[in-house]
Structures are given as C-alpha cells and as structure tokens.
Symmetry: C2
DNA sequence: CGGGCATATAACCGTCAAGGAATATAACGA
DNA sequence: TCGTTATATTCCTTGACGGTTATATGCCCG
C-alpha cells in the first residue's frame, strides 16, 4: 500500500485522472482519448482503483469509471505547509515581517 | 527531466521537503533528523536541486538548503481541477454528482 | 601544509513497476 | 448456442531507481 504520491507519479495515470475530473468515462473512451493500448488502460485503472482514486460502475459490458476524491485530497493536504511559499496574501506576509521588526526601508508604497 | 510528481513520489524526499518547509537546514541536520545515511541525503538533495525543488547556499563547509516553491506550485496547480470534489460547498458537490449520473447509494452527508 | 569535518560522487546491486503481446473472462445480441 | 464486443489478467522483459559502501572534493583551522 504505497503512498498516493507514487500512484499519481505515473503520467498515464494522471492523464486518466484528468479525463475523469471532467466526467466519468468507460475504459474504451479512455483508450481512444489517450491513444493507449487497452491492457495498459485497464492495468492503470486497476492500480487507481485499488488505491482508491477511482471506482467503477458496471453498465452492460462497459465499466464506467469515476473519480473518488479521498486520495487526491491527501495529496492536497500534504501540500498545505508549502502553500505559504506562493499563496500567501501579501498582507499576511507583511504582518509577519512587521512582527519580525523589519522596517522595509521603502519600496512599499500604498 | 521527469515530472515533478515523480520527484515527490519518494518518501524520503517528501520528508526532506517537509523539514525544509519549516526552515532551512544543512545536510547534516537533515541527516540526523531523518536518521538516514549521509550519501542518501545528498543524493536526494541532488535530485531535488536539479528538479528545482530546493536550492543551496554555501556557509563555510556546510551547504544550507531551502525550498524553492515553483515545482510544488505546479503540483498544486495540477490538483486544481479536482478540488471541487472536496473543497466545494456542499451544494456544488451535489450539482456535480447530479452531472455525474445518479448513483443512488446512501450516505449523502459527510 | 596537514588533518579533520562536511558534503558530494562513484560503482555496484537488488528490486520493482511499466510496457507489450497474448490470452482469459464476461456480457450482450442473434 | 455462437460470435462479437468490452474489459481484465497473465507472462515476460527491461529499465530506472534507491540503498549501501567506498572514495573524492572542498573548506576550515592549528
């Protein structure tokens, strides 16, 4: 049971997930959209399914796959501590710097 | 030059990044904190450096590493289309499920 | 200059996972 | 039932990656 990151590391799996992000798709649809051999698609879907990234619904002879959010949510959660490196609203950063005693000479005009 | 996801897939590299998320650290500090052989740390740092996840500053005989946000930012960006699966206000989620087709399983609250 | 500390690189090895080809399973229609 | 479509599984090979050990590089200080 490797980490969710290892699952998402595979480019084809990311492609599959991206397609499923928009709407659910059958194996055949994924196959043609990605121009990738069917056994490959099935194998990646198996990995994704067993890792909880997708689930499938049976519809006649087709299996229709859709996203399951939980594992990607974990990935998202792991990123949280890093978001401040880019997201940070400027004012929060400024408050921090202010608290640190830095008087940013000038260059901050408002 | 593989994708940023492959870099982050490695658990030890994630550990390194997590440590650096708080503050910068020298190689030796990482080595002891993670209880991992020094060559391993250096190799992972090399991978992280070449992929742009970290950069190093020379301080006497030490190299002090710190985070560079860009690649993680890319990862974060890739997640964007999926966020609506969990972040979204409940009613948006319901709209989504409606669009995805009716799966009248129970448990419609969370 | 020489020795010691801090970090990087090299070489080797084992593992593991992805790709491809062939085949198996399952469900539909006639 | 048979044939066809849709998907899953198996087997095999191959390449990449991480761990380990040993060695190299670089910098400081006596």
């Amino acid at each position: 049971m490797d980490s969710s990151f290892a699952i998402v590391a595979e480019p084809n799996r990311r492609a599959i997930l991206s397609l499923l992000a928009t709407s659910e798709h059958s194996v055949g649809e994924l196959e043609t959209q990605l121009q990738m051999p069917q056994p490959s698609v099935s194998k990646h879907l198996r990995v994704l399914r067993e890792a909880g990234f997708v689930e499938s619904r049976v519809e006649a002879q087709r299996r229709v796959y859709r996203i399951r959010p939980e594992p990607l949510k974990e990935v998202d959660a792991w990123l949280a501590p890093f978001r401040r490196f880019w997201n940070d609203h400027l004012d929060a950063l400024e408050r921090h710097l202010d608290r640190m005693g830095q008087t940013p000479t000038e260059g901050k005009n408002r």
